[in-house]
């Protein structure tokens, strides 16, 4: 299969994921459409650099994120387009062997409440952008820690840390809905089991 046909086959297969990630990065539908198109153009131009032994999705996600960083450099006027890197808080880099000392929140309360999948999806949309990105890449796109680390250009330990924080905050939203941003102050419960 030639590279053009391959690209035409792969993009529709991942279109929902690509659009969704563009929305995560830009937070505005109009900007997401532009980012998606620009990313596809750049990906096609760089298709010869794609290693066929690896997965297409993390490769093109990495391109999309880099395109977004370039776009933000070009135009920094929208509050929603603050540079990705500026939003990333200083985080301790933890190792794979000793990822975290804290204890994850158990999802027992959420299971008992029998929440809908849609409400869980909505709660993910309310996570702070830096945490939402990692939770989406792992829990919705199913990417490995290492793929995510490559996409966001951060160590695996940082990915694990953000994933931990994002998942725990998500569970807090689901157990205590009033704690979502804009509704009240966020308070992360940390009562272990």
């Amino acid at each position: 299969m030639d590279r053009g046909s391959e690209f035409q086959d792969l993009v529709p297969k991942y279109l929902n994921s690509l659009y969704n990630y563009a929305l995560v990065l830009t937070r505005r539908a109009e900007d997401a459409e532009d980012l998606l198109q620009e990313s596809l153009v750049r990906a096609y131009d760089g298709l010869h650099t794609f290693d066929r032994s690896l997965s297409f999705k993390p490769w093109i996600f990495t391109i999309m994120r880099n395109v977004q960083i370039d776009r933000q450099r070009r135009r920094r006027r929208q509050p929603s387009e603050r540079p990705l890197r500026d939003e990333e808080e200083a985080e301790p880099v933890v190792s794979m062997e000793n990822p975290l000392c804290s204890i994850p929140l158990a999802p027992e309360d959420i299971l008992v409440r029998r929440e809908t999948v849609e409400r869980v999806r909505e709660a993910i949309r309310h996570l702070p952008p830096v945490l939402r990105e990692i939770v989406e890449l792992r829990d919705i796109e199913g990417l490995s820690y290492r793929d995510i680390a490559t996409i966001v250009s951060r160590p695996v330990g940082t990915v694990m840390s953000r994933l931990y924080r994002g998942r725990n905050l998500l569970r807090t939203y689901l157990v205590e809905p009033a704690q979502r941003p804009g509704e009240n102050r966020i308070g992360v419960r940390n009562d272990g089991l």
Binding site: G4, S5, F7, Q8, V11, P12, L15, N16, S17, L18, Y19, N20, Y21, L23, A29, E33, D34, L36, Q37, E38, L40, V41, Y44, M96, E97, N98, P99, L100, C101, S102, I103, P104, A106, P107, E108, I110, L111, R114, E115, T116, V117, E118, V120, R121, I124, E136, R138, D139, I140, E141, S144, Y145, M160, L163, Y164, R167, G192, L193
Partner: protein, 273 residues
């Protein structure tokens, strides 16, 4: 020997399958002798199965699909005179029709491969009854609940490749409990849970192409089957197939028809599977 705090700190990467072999073995050795931590893992796994595994990316709107379907052939055939977004948008508008055809074709191909071998009426009936039982027993949580039929239609429209049209009746005793995207014999369907006078009724809406694969005769219009004590009614309407499962015979038709409507009588069950 791993202690509880250390094991709990590795819960997420353990369930994610991201721990190195040696560390994973240490966690599993701890779980083998610690009921509390094992319970924590069980809840985490149940949470993933109930919610996380069913999460999907937000679907790309039709407009975006059209734009991309226009862009791709242009990229591949090297007709990029300029790459500004404005140009791309203009081009997208021009060839939108071609895109619609492409989407239709690819959807058809996808559906065909999805269906795989042909599903029979007996298999569809069995799958529908099984899903109904799971819905009634709360073994399958709804994706949406306590929403109006219009809101449910809108929700399904964004997620399914076929038209989902729901009745919007104000009949006393009729209630739409919720809905979810389910699978009948690997075919993606809209599953709706209703109550009619306190009785559970499930309505499954399947793609017309999948309905055609059943190769049912046009008459009688409604196919009625008794299976494992349930009444199953199957028919086609407005570009989709419908399967209604209940234990209340033709009273389940109140899901789609007002009580005063004069309905053609349902045929006697044509099969007892």
């Amino acid at each position: 020997m791993m202690d509880c705090d250390t094991a709990k700190s590795k819960l997420f990467p353990y369930v994610d399958g991201e721990l190195a072999t040696e560390l994973r073995d240490q966690v599993e050795a701890h779980l083998a002798r610690c009921g509390a931590c094992r319970r924590l893992v069980d809840f985490e796994v149940a949470f993933r199965e109930t919610y996380v595994d069913r999460l999907r990316p937000d679907p790309a709107p039709e407009r975006v699909r059209e734009q991309v379907a226009t862009l791709l052939p242009d990229l591949v055939h090297g007709q990029r005179a300029g790459r500004t977004q404005r140009w791309l948008k203009r081009l997208a508008l021009g060839v939108g029709a071609a895109l619609l055809v492409a989407i239709g074709l690819s959807a058809g191909v996808a559906l065909q491969s999805h269906l795989g071998t042909r599903t029979t009426l007996a298999e569809l009936t069995d799958a529908a009854v099984e899903q109904h039982q799971k819905l009634v027993r709360d073994l399958l949580p709804p994706d949406i609940k306590d929403v109006s039929p219009k809101a449910a239609e809108e929700w399904f429209r964004k997620r399914l490749a076929f038209n989902v049209s729901l009745p919007d009746l104000k009949t006393e005793g009729l209630r739409l409990l919720g809905g979810r995207i389910s699978h009948l014999r690997e075919v993606e369907v809209a599953a709706l849970e209703y109550q009619v006078d306190g009785n559970n009724v499930s309505l499954f809406i399947i793609p017309e192409e999948a309905y055609r694969q059943l190769r049912l005769k046009d008459k009688p219009r409604f196919k009625v089957v008794s299976h494992r004590g349930y009444d199953v009614v199957i028919w086609r309407s407005q570009g989709a197939g419908y399967t209604l499962v209940s234990e209340i015979g033709d009273r389940a038709c109140l899901v789609c028809h007002a009580p005063h409507e004069k309905l053609e009588p349902l045929p006697r069950p044509s099969a007892h599977l």
